[in-house]
């Protein structure tokens, strides 16, 4: 009897889950098609995101040249059939560099958001679950973090850690964790008030079981939305830091870094050097923002206005 009760109560999830289990390819395709019809801008965002992921994964096959390959007699050539986006001051093909640059944005972006959201979930869910003094103290620390301008705190952390890819990921993830923990805490608080959590507690479930089996699955939609929108913000932050010289060291191309240094020195003579990396950043961030917005509307309209 008690088993049936648990199953029934578990089924009464307060927020819609992403895709019901046991679907198969057809169901996925139908869900995707419906999403594209209902949210055309979100679908465009999704296409941009997928294109960026493909560029990052298969850069060697897509880029006509290596990112550091100098091409004889092609110094600062404007865009042409041979070099779609032109070449830079070191005679390198800009299209190839933009393609390889997607790799930095994608790896730094995903690693940062994975770390940031994991910490945010730990803070948010535990804060909502345990409440009391623990919640009060933790939230004041989050308050303090949030009152720092993100670029200021990231740069300060980078000053301590030194430049480089890993340190960039850690310092941006700290900010992502603080910002997102607030929203996840809010979502977890709502779940905590559900009857199935009360029932689980009444049945003698331990803290770990209630958190992992009952609370966490019901804030997954929130987490997915935050991660998608957060990826745009993280890519923007990464490019700003690379622009300021705190990112991945050259010659490996990162979109932000391509806009600083030689991109700025030669921009009056070869403006395409200053244009394309920026277009790539804007498109990528635009894609994630559009997709995240649409996902939010479809999965959890309560989150409207959180950003």
């Amino acid at each position: 009897m008690s088993t049936t009760a648990t199953i029934d109560l578990n089924g009464a999830a307060p927020s819609p889950t992403l895709v019901r289990r046991g679907g198969g390819a057809k169901r996925w395709a139908r869900a995707l098609a419906r999403f594209a019809v209902r949210k055309p801008l979100g679908a465009i965002g999704g296409v941009i995101v997928v294109a960026m992921l493909v560029m990052a994964l298969f850069a060697e096959h897509i880029a006509p040249y290596a990112y550091d390959e100098t091409i004889r007699g092609a110094r600062m050539k404007p865009p042409s059939a041979a070099h779609w986006l032109g070449t830079d001051n070191l005679s390198r093909d800009l299209w190839s560099r933009v393609v390889y640059g997607a790799r930095v944005s994608v790896t730094v972006g995903f690693a940062t958001i994975a770390l940031g959201i994991a910490v945010a979930t730990a803070i948010g869910v535990s804060s909502a679950y345990f409440g009391g003094a623990y919640d009060l103290v933790l939230q004041r620390v989050v308050d303090a973090w949030l009152s720092f301008p993100y670029l200021v705190i990231i740069l300060s952390v980078m000053a301590v850690l030194g430049p480089g890819r890993l340190n960039l990921i850690i310092s941006v993830a700290i900010i992502a964790a603080a910002t997102n923990s607030r929203v996840i805490r809010g979502a977890a608080l709502t779940v905590m008030q559900s009857q199935f959590v009360e029932a689980a507690r009444a049945m003698g479930c331990g803290h770990a079981r209630i958190i992992l089996r009952h609370v966490l699955p019901n804030v997954t939609a929130t987490i997915i939305i935050l991660a998608t929108i957060g990826l745009g913000a993280v890519i923007l932050a990464e490019s700003a830091l690379s622009f300021l010289g705190f990112g991945v060291p050259p010659p490996y191309p990162s979109w932000g870094a391509m806009l600083s240094g030689s991109g700025r020195t030669y921009m009056f003579r070869a403006p395409w050097m200053a244009v394309w990396p920026g277009v790539a950043i804007s498109l990528a961030v635009f894609g994630f923002n559009m997709l995240g917005d649409a996902l939010r509307d479809v999965l959890d309209p309560r989150l409207r206005g959180t950003r």
Binding site: R140, W145, Y150, S156, V160, G232, S282, V285
Partner: protein, 314 residues
């Protein structure tokens, strides 16, 4: 009543400020030892590593260091720059007005763009204008400010031979030139905030326009503009003001990039240079100043609620 509310808000703000001060204080103390050595080699600030550690106050127990630091800060002593040897407070006093002005203009520009467009998009929901406004807003959130700044410097120069003024014009020497040179950087700084504010204005106004009192106002035969502005907007504006408070850290953070690109002698540029030179007392001073500003502004925002919405009683 207001006094009691203010006191309660201060009680919440003070722990945040204290924790922030601990963060500000701890950061430079996490520097690996070789960085101190590097600083020694770069700055010739002290004879040997022991003297440098003593000068930076790194040679005592951490709680003692913190207490001493707070005591100094209370007296207005933020230490001196390792490079210029000038008191950090003096340097900040020079640079703060530039950044404050920049942030103020950026906020005004953001509101001037966001409110009318947000209202228009909500009043004509799902029209072409709404669609365009929403897409442009997401685009505005996606454009990196440093790229926009670069384009706005490069393109007019190439197309029309026009370049923005380089070098800083002081307010006392040429007030008009001073303000004009800040407008472009401020506009770039304000664009992302304008987009966020516009989206929220639209969303909140749409919700307000669905209320019964709006239907009543329309039934009374009031002009639609009066309904939207007097009945809708007034009730939608509170969350927008809150967001404005949370946008301040973004705008202040943005000054680092914008001041560096446009060569403006503000606090953001100061911080950027300090980080490149590992000038820890300056980094600490700027962080403390910025974080205190943000906490105070958010306190002000909370108080502003009561003025804007008489329903909120403290």
């Amino acid at each position: 009543m207001l006094k009691r509310y203010l006191a309660r808000r201060l009680v919440i703000a003070i722990p945040s400020l204290l924790i922030a001060s601990v963060i500000v204080f701890t950061l430079p103390r996490l520097i690996p030892g070789d960085a101190v050595q590097l600083m020694l080699a770069e700055t010739s600030y002290a004879k040997d590593i022991d003297e440098l550690r003593a000068k930076l106050g790194l040679d005592r127990a951490l709680p003692v260091q913190y207490a001493e630091w707070v005591a100094h800060v209370m007296r207005g002593d933020l230490g001196e720059s390792l490079w210029t040897r000038r008191p950090v407070l003096d340097e900040l006093a020079h640079r703060l007005p530039v950044s404050a002005e920049l942030a103020l203009y950026a906020t005004v520009i953001a509101l001037a763009i966001a409110l009318p467009i947000g209202v228009l998009a909500a009043a004509r929901q799902d029209s072409l204008a709404d669609y365009v406004a929403r897409s442009v807003a997401i685009l505005g959130l996606s454009l990196p400010s440093f790229w926009l700044a670069t384009l706005l410097i490069v393109m007019p120069a190439i197309w029309w031979g026009w370049r923005p003024v380089t070098g800083f014009t002081d307010l006392r020497q040429d007030p008009v030139g001073h303000i004009v040179q800040l407008l472009l950087p401020a506009a770039i700084l304000g664009i992302a905030s304008a987009a966020a504010l516009m989206r929220l204005t639209r969303g909140m106004l749409l919700e307000a326009l669905r209320q019964d009192y709006v239907r009543t106002a329309q039934a009374k035969g009031l002009a639609q503009s009066v309904v939207v502005v007097k009945h809708g907007l007034r009730n939608a504006v509170i969350p927008v003001i809150t967001l404005l408070g949370t946008q301040l850290p973004l705008i202040l953070g943005g000054t680092v990039v914008i001041e560096t690109i446009f060569g403006l002698p503000g606090v953001g540029r100061f911080l950027f240079d300090a980080i490149n030179q590992r000038d820890y007392p300056v980094i600490q001073g700027v962080n403390l100043l910025v974080v205190s500003t943000v906490v105070l502004v958010n306190l002000g925002v909370d108080v502003l609620y009561g003025v804007l919405d008489p329903r909120i009683r403290y």
